[in-house]
């Protein structure tokens, strides 16, 4: 049973922590950020931090939640059941650029995407071709996507999302299709 309203202090605290983490990640990279850094910058008590999150990872994930939920909705929507998995990529490029997600979250997107692709590949792939495990194919398609996304973010979005998506498909689709149709 969800609360009607959430205590303003809670919202405030979480927001402060998330903002502090974001800024610190930009400054020195996630690996080097400590809980101490975050609570210092957010000006929040140590115990308060642990009352809300049990680790830095959790705090990071909590910020990613809206984006993740959005993708989940999108992926479970009926509209794409009969489309190929490729229909996803453009939206993903666009969403990531819009939200300026940063590549910190890409790991999570990758896992998510992998699971999705694996399902769809298992359905859509003929039984032949034991040669190439669907897990490998899904891993490749997801990894390639993340690779392009990483380059794109690192270089501060030098091309449009549409162009990136076009390149992605040009690169990945031919080889994948060939193998799926029975290499």
């Amino acid at each position: 049973m969800p609360q009607k309203t959430i205590d303003r202090r809670i919202q405030r605290t979480r927001q402060l922590l998330q903002n502090a983490l974001s800024e610190l990640i930009l400054q020195k990279g996630y690996e080097k950020v400590t809980v101490q850094d975050v609570i210092d910058r957010a000006n929040v008590g140590r115990s308060t931090f642990y009352a809300h999150f049990e680790s830095l990872d959790q705090l990071l994930l909590s910020g990613f939640e809206p984006l993740r939920a959005q993708f989940e909705d999108f992926l479970s929507g009926a509209e794409f059941d009969h489309e190929s998995p490729w229909a996803l990529s453009l939206t993903m490029f666009q969403q990531v650029q819009k939200q300026q997600g940063g590549y910190i979250t890409l790991t999570h997107i990758q896992k998510f995407l992998y699971g999705y692709l694996l399902d769809h590949l298992k359905m859509g792939m003929p039984k032949r071709n034991k040669n190439v495990p669907p897990e490998l194919l899904a891993h490749y398609v997801a990894s390639s996507f993340i690779a392009l996304m990483t380059w794109w973010i690192d270089n501060e979005y030098p091309l449009s999302a549409e162009k990136m998506n076009e390149i992605y498909r040009q690169l990945v689709e031919p080889g994948t299709m060939a193998i799926m149709m029975g290499g």
Copy 2:
């Protein structure tokens, strides 16, 4: 001016530390290994560790050195100047499997490979096609390779190096060639 012989104690200490690190990585993954773990298992004094390496990362890198040097030799050899970059991949699969390098070192291989590919792509690519930056192409080819390698290692080499190489080329070559020839 390099030493004629290296003090046996030095060799012994470094070997012990490297072995200890390898074993610990297999047991619990690099991220969770501490200096304390390493010196305990190697049975080496704390100060001794720091006399040889200034961090765990350095110790890790030192173990990677032979493999890296080998690749460097290989890549700078004349024999492949007129071959396509694809000639590399099989050897790499084979080498990594032989040396049981583990994916810890893959980051370094990737950087290395990226530089190599970028050089060769800039040479071999017509001037047309400003659309797709060679940096992106090199990044993609290197990343895909690392992706397949990662999957292969994670799953404990379920396919032969030859088979992996074949799949890699089937997946990556068509799209890449199409773009290089002027997508």
